[in-house]
Symmetry: C2
């Protein structure tokens, strides 16, 4: 169906473009400096966790079960931190390692381990010739960068409403022994905001990989990050793996980066008995032991899953109005034009925006010109190459509501102008 600009007479369209260019000129004169680029909690959100800085002081007993907090040891993480992480991911603490403050760093280190040492007794990647990694796209740019940086070939996989296109995933994973992994954000996916359906999770759990060293990198970054009414329900991947008669297939990751403090949260990985034992062995060479004061503070402050959920409700109260504003501004500004679609997630940190083919780079460039920073167009695709050049990731959490409203107003004008120009160019 043609969009509003495509349906206009050329005369009206030229007039509309002129009108929009005037609007843009006005906006340029305002010398805005706004940022909708990265999924960062706002200062209001990080302030929620300041009381965590009060839980440790010089009188706190620095023991945790059998573990000594203030000396070397316990590289698998403090018992209380593993219990907390286990509750967040819904797995047995014995299958969890808590280490460092960045789950991306854990993912990187496991891909590097596979590259240098090999996984599950297989040859290291570097001795296997070209290896491939599946990248549901649009997806998380930093995931793609980890595998790209090691020379692993990133293969884009179409994202559907209920998760990655599992027919394609299944065909590649089961048919091609050079496929060694897949990046997944199964709940409130970055950036589309969808949660994988039970069918998709079961299809993942039932995979019979051609490569014994294939692993699913299940980055459950937004597992407790619902801000809408009803929390999406994600099937337990490890349970599904067991039911499918599979065993060593999944590394699951999580962190409190967007629960407490970004960059100063706790990060964790969970896996099957065999896999977690290999993870611990790999980490024993590279990590003497991890930051345990932060682990203790988290365990004492958040306590358990109920504590986490109560804390996340405070985040939701701050985040929800921002996402609502995205919906209302885009709906009012673009809803009737038929030029774009956008996601309306119940959780996570992003709205995924689809404009006309060939529009994303131009919109992002125009926005930059008007003083509003967006995630670079294409970033949500492997190698930064969005085949349609149509996807833009909107990150509404960091700006104040007022700034966000202003940024979205600019965005609406930019989308309209670029869409109108594209419609005009189609006519030659």
């Amino acid at each position: 169906m043609p969009n509003a600009y495509q349906s206009m007479s050329t005369e009206s369209l030229d007039e509309e473009i002129k009108h929009l260019e005037t609007e843009v000129a006005h906006l340029r004169d305002q010398h805005l400096k706004l940022d909708m680029a990265r999924g960062k909690p706002s200062p209001q959100q990080t302030a929620l966790s300041k009381p965590m800085l009060d839980v440790l002081d010089s009188s706190t007993p620095l023991v945790d079960g059998d573990a000594i907090v203030d000396n070397y040891g316990t590289p698998e993480g403090l018992p209380s931190a593993r219990r907390l992480a286990g509750q967040i991911l819904g797995v047995d603490p014995k299958n969890v390692v808590v280490s460092g403050s960045s789950s991306l760093n854990l993912m990187h280190d496991l891909v590097a381990h596979a590259f240098i040492n090999g996984v599950a007794g297989a040859e290291p990647f570097y001795r296997q010739g070209e290896v491939k990694w599946l990248c549901p796209a649009p997806g998380y740019d930093r995931h793609f960068k980890v595998t790209e940086s090691m020379g692993i070939k990133n293969v884009p996989i179409p994202m559907c409403e209920d998760g990655p296109d599992m027919d394609t995933v299944c065909e590649l994973v089961e048919g091609d022994p050079t496929v060694k992994g897949i990046w997944c954000v199964p709940k409130y996916a970055n950036p589309t905001g969808i949660t994988y359906s039970d069918e998709v999770v079961r299809a993942f759990a039932s995979l019979k990989p051609a490569a014994p060293d294939f692993r699913i990198y299940w980055d459950n970054a937004y597992v407790v990050h619902c801000f809408g009414g009803t929390d999406d329900q994600l099937l337990d991947i490890f349970q599904a793996v067991r039911e499918a008669g599979n065993r060593n297939l999944v590394y699951e990751f999580g962190s409190t980066a967007k629960v407490t403090f970004p960059s100063s949260g706790i990060a964790f990985v969970a896996a099957s008995d065999d896999d977690i034992s290999e993870v611990r062995k790999a980490f024993s060479v590279e990590r003497v032991s991890s930051e345990k004061m932060s682990q203790l503070a988290h365990a004492l402050y958040l306590r358990d899953l109920d504590g986490v959920r109560a804390h996340m409700r405070k985040h939701a109260a701050i985040v929800a109005p921002r996402f609502a504003l995205v919906q209302s501004k885009l709906g009012e500004g673009l809803g009737s034009l038929g030029v774009a679609t956008w996601s309306n997630p119940h959780g996570g940190y992003f709205v995924s925006f689809e404009g006309p083919k060939g529009s994303a780079k131009r919109i992002v460039a125009l926005m930059a010109d008007l003083g509003v920073k967006l995630t670079p167009a294409g970033a949500t695709w492997p190698y930064g190459k969005d085949p349609n050049d149509s996807n833009i990731r909107i990150a509404p959490t960091y700006p104040s509501l007022e700034d966000l409203g202003q940024a979205l107003d600019v965005f609406v004008v930019a989308v309209k102008l670029v869409s109108a120009k594209i419609a005009r160019e189609e006519r030659g």
Copy 2:
């Protein structure tokens, strides 16, 4: 010169062995459980830093210069933490990255980066066929493990009184392009306790490596860890490199693991302008940003080098008597026998003990049998292979003075018995 047992008549020697075996039997009956295995601060030492847990609370402003502490960003480390680390290492903060809590982890990640991506534009190690790493031995077992785990060939280098044998180092580094690095603990070396002489540091700084991707891994772990009267003076390696007309040659590492809390300190790396820029680029893929609360707490608590030195004097007061006890017990128990030598360092965490050839494994096994845990014999050599089987690393800091005294008494008996038996076996 023959030792006391070698000089005895066979009859006296047999009698002495019988006597020592009775002593050993008595010790075995005591069912001791003592540990002189790893370089861990004692609980008294870690307690010194408990006040650091009071410096951050919910009222602390979470900014540091231009940096935001409680959100993403500043992956190179907080300005105040880089300033502190720069003062500890004696380098410009702009050449420092502070990240994570483990300097070993930083070293691992840089070797892994060289392995997977290559250093300074060179091919990654994995594409270069066999590569080698120089390992002054006795040295630090965890260093050797990092390169060993990547299949890099560890080459032992003799350690002298003033540092590694630089003739051998020079010949290998300048003559063999497959030599890519060397592990160094230049001050209060692990385990010998020596500090590299100015001549050795200058020889390192003047190296003209055959490989452009050769780097010196200068692990200055004990830079502020003097416990004796006069602090050893280590020449500034970067200054020496500049004076030698060299440029990109050295990664220097440090941490506060043995200043504040092991496993919860701050870790840092310093390098030339070019090298640190490459380090930051490499880390940008694998580390979103690092634990900044801990960095802020360290900077506020330790403040500057004067603060660090004042704090280390408190450590010295606890550590010095333990090292003195090692000297007196070994001197009294073994001094007149001529069976062994041992180091008498002014700082660091270890005493290096040299027994008769072929004695180390037997002594460590006998000690284990008597309930005293030592670092495994050979651990201070690449692949755990001490060619003389004579070196034992004594780590006296963790046990209480009373436990340490007891452990050393057992050690003296064990050394005597094994040395006497070896003397007896030599006679056939």
